[in-house]
Amino acid sequence: MTNSIAEISDAEVIFAVGSNTTESHPVIGARVRQAVRKGAKLIVADSRDIPLKRDAEIYLKIKPGTNIALINAMINVILEEGLEDKEYIKNNTEGYDEFVEVIKKYTPEKAAEICGVDPEDIRKAARLYTSTPKATILYCMGVTQHLNGTETVISLSNLALVTGNLGRESSGINPLRGQNNVQGACDMGALPNLFTGYQPVNNPEVIQKFEKAWGVKLNNKVGLTVPEAMHKAEQGEVKVLYIFGENPMVSDPDTGHVEKALKKAFVIVQDLFLTETAELADVVLPAACFAEKDGTFTNTERRVQRVRKAVEPPGEAKADWEIIAEIMNRLGYEAKYNSAEDIFNEIRTVTPQYAGITYKRLDKEGIQWPCPTEDHPGTKILHVGKPTRGKGLIKPVEYEESPELGSEEYPLILTTGRILYHYHTRTMTARIEGINKLAPENYIEINPKLAAAKGIKDGDMVKVTSRRGEITIKARVTDRVAENVVFIPFHWGYGANVLTNGELLDKYCKIPGLKVTGVRLEKLA
């Protein structure tokens, strides 16, 4: 996030796009509603009637995968009506002229047709977004889990840049990160192309720095992403997969393909429970959970916060770091750490953003990176005054229809998402009795008209088929989804991700296009 979570309560206009905030980030959702209570206006763009719809001033129920057309059209209106921040564009951005040409094509009328909304609503949304300096954008997987996810993010950044709605209190572009420490995992370099602190693995200076710090020669070839590693495992090129705290059998697209890959490779799984993935493993290592160890998580507002040990791990389970350190030692690389704090102190020496953060400082309250020195207070808002890279790049992006669509065989659009009561692949929440009472089983949301046409009643079992596979699932008839769209929460194994596409990845960040899958639906006899 470029801003802090608390600032959301004071925003005057909030544009929530592809974020089912009250369910995926419930306390941020509450903050959005607090802002609305105080008079803020909310614009929601989503392909389902999410709970925030009731709080929205403008609600844009867009066809899945059409974010770019919508956002481009909002920019079109802004430029057409002279609502842009000309000063900001002149002083702080580049690439504007070329961009204007592309934007011209995206009239509200054209976008309205692509997205399936009223062009007037697009105009209203554009005007509202530019009506106050305290306008902020929140987005989530509904934006990123598309083949053109990176481009959609660029289009949102364009929107913020042309209006200068960036780098101020309660105004910026705020991706809401899903899992508790997804921000931290990225910060720490659990990425195939980056070391800790986003330092590229193929930059000679950086390589040198880490070779010195770690005392070994390093490989400068960018590594494999999860989907790529999965493919290579299936092809037999990746021989060993070491999976810790992840459950790709449920979370990754195209379960059938994941299963083949896991069966082929030698798989080490380190987890709390015998997950669907662990069941296929060759070695399973019992790990301690968050309440059983000391350490830090970094939340979506870049705030590093302490995790403290409250209870002992069960049986012989160990903290993940202890297990990994032991493996390092046994492989002949000395990893001498007595505590998570020892590791953290090493992280500080190689990660400029974390250099000023200490466990002692964290004792009082979490600190937001960048925090370069011990007397630095941390950074609440990014890009203050002007974008961090000097000039913000405005780059035209075009809407393209997903290749999953437009087929007669699979005429419906399946979109996936989270629900309030379950977390990710349910490894933890499925063990909670009360949760299972409130959200006992998987389901598919089907529009009443579609249901009627297919003779499906609420509670019927239906068969859903995609190019990858088929599942049987209980129908929930609701107008939350449009007539040609169906929705399945992704939390349940052998559910939505049996159907989703694991081959088509975003060309930049390799995210799978989970939010749009062509499917067909039948009532089960």
Partner: protein, 348 residues
């Protein structure tokens, strides 16, 4: 800035500050049953009364704004008498079953009755018994214990913004419930438990599987392990078990939690947890010692690296694990194995 005297101490605070806040800055604690800085002044009948020189009444510290030259006394015999009377009246409609009430030890009413030596009710009971609503799987509402302070209603409406709870009046009874007295399970309640966390008495209570007393528990401040909001919370531990979770006033959550942070901690102690390493033998996963598991892992990694090169090994790190663990996993892959094949499910 406004200058005033509280209990003989000079206090200087900005205009608009309440007596309660001013006293707090001077380290003077004015007792209240229900004060919550996020919600503004306490209810009408709270015990936060004080004496202000020149005034005949006993103004409420939580709603009275300081004035220049004010002289405030917080604990005079007269003030204490007013507080006792208020507590006595509340007790008239509150069961005296502290012996078995699970809130005992964390109950504000109990704490203040103890402090002011109030043992008996004043006046007669004006309410009749009402059934407990236990339709929510995580908490129950016992209207007989409710002191009608309204905190739950406020939290639900102003902070959680769910507007599930309201006061329902039936004759002389005023109790808290979803509109028209419907059951909680039939309402729009999202089970965030924020109402439960602020209830000063045993009216809104978590349904706990454990039998414990609050004074037997040890709070440990930590970060919720579910979503990326990073709510701060205290897990309450008894005998190496988490028995309850209380929201903390973290920068992101401001004292709120959602259903997962508040109630979904039972996985920690679940019997399904893995307790020993497992290795596949003859097609089946079997329990082994750590020594054996490490041997298998390490020899496999060594062998594969020698035979097929480091890029034939890949790791999926974890968006749920610690920073320290993600760093170490990346270091293991890069510095020890010699590959950049490390990723995690940021994209999923």
């Amino acid at each position: 800035m406004i200058n005033l005297k509280i209990d003989g101490r000079d206090v200087c605070v900005p205009e608009g500050t309440t007596i309660l806040e001013a006293a707090e800055t001077a380290g003077i604690n004015i007792p209240t049953l229900t004060y919550d800085p996020r919600l503004g002044p306490c209810g009408d009948w709270d015990v936060c009364v004080v004496e202000v020189e020149g005034r005949l009444d006993f103004p409420k510290a939580s709603s009275t704004v300081v004035e220049e030259g004010m002289v405030v006394r917080t604990e005079t015999p007269a003030v204490v008498n007013v507080r006792k009377a208020i507590l006595g009246r509340i007790l008239a409609n509150h069961p005296l079953d502290c012996l078995t009430c699970p809130k005992s030890g964390a109950c504000k009413l109990q704490e203040l009755c103890f402090k002011y030596d109030v043992k008996e009710a004043t006046g007669v009971k004006t309410r009749e018994e009402r059934p407990i609503d236990d339709t929510n799987p995580f908490y129950y509402s016992d209207p007989n214990k409710c002191i009608s302070c309204g905190k739950c209603v406020e939290v639900c409406a102003k902070l959680q913004c769910a507007k599930v709870l309201s006061f329902v009046e039936k004759g002389p009874h005023k109790y808290v419930s979803p509109p028209f007295g419907t059951a909680i399970a039939q309402s729009e309640c999202v089970s965030c438990g924020n109402c439960v966390s602020v209830c000063p008495v045993g009216a809104l209570m978590p349904k706990s599987k454990e039998v414990f007393r609050y004074w037997e528990t040890e709070p440990v401040r930590t970060t919720c392990s579910y979503c990326g909001v990073g709510c701060q919370m205290d897990v309450l531990v008894k005998d190496n078990k988490i028995v309850d979770v209380r929201p903390a006033d973290g920068p992101a959550n401001g004292g709120l939690l959602c259903v997962k942070g508040k109630f979904a901690y039972g996985f920690v102690n679940h019997p399904d947890r893995l307790k020993k390493p497992l290795v596949r033998k003859n097609g089946k996963l079997e329990e082994v010692t750590w020594e054996e598991a490490f041997d298998v892992v390490v020899s496999k990694l060594k062998e594969t690296k020698e035979q097929y090169g480091p890029d034939s090994i890949a790791a999926f790190s974890s968006a749920r694990a610690l920073n320290e663990e993600n760093y170490l996993m990346a270091k293991l892959m890069r510095a020890v194995i010699g590959t950049n094949n490390i990723d995690h499910c940021a994209r999923l």
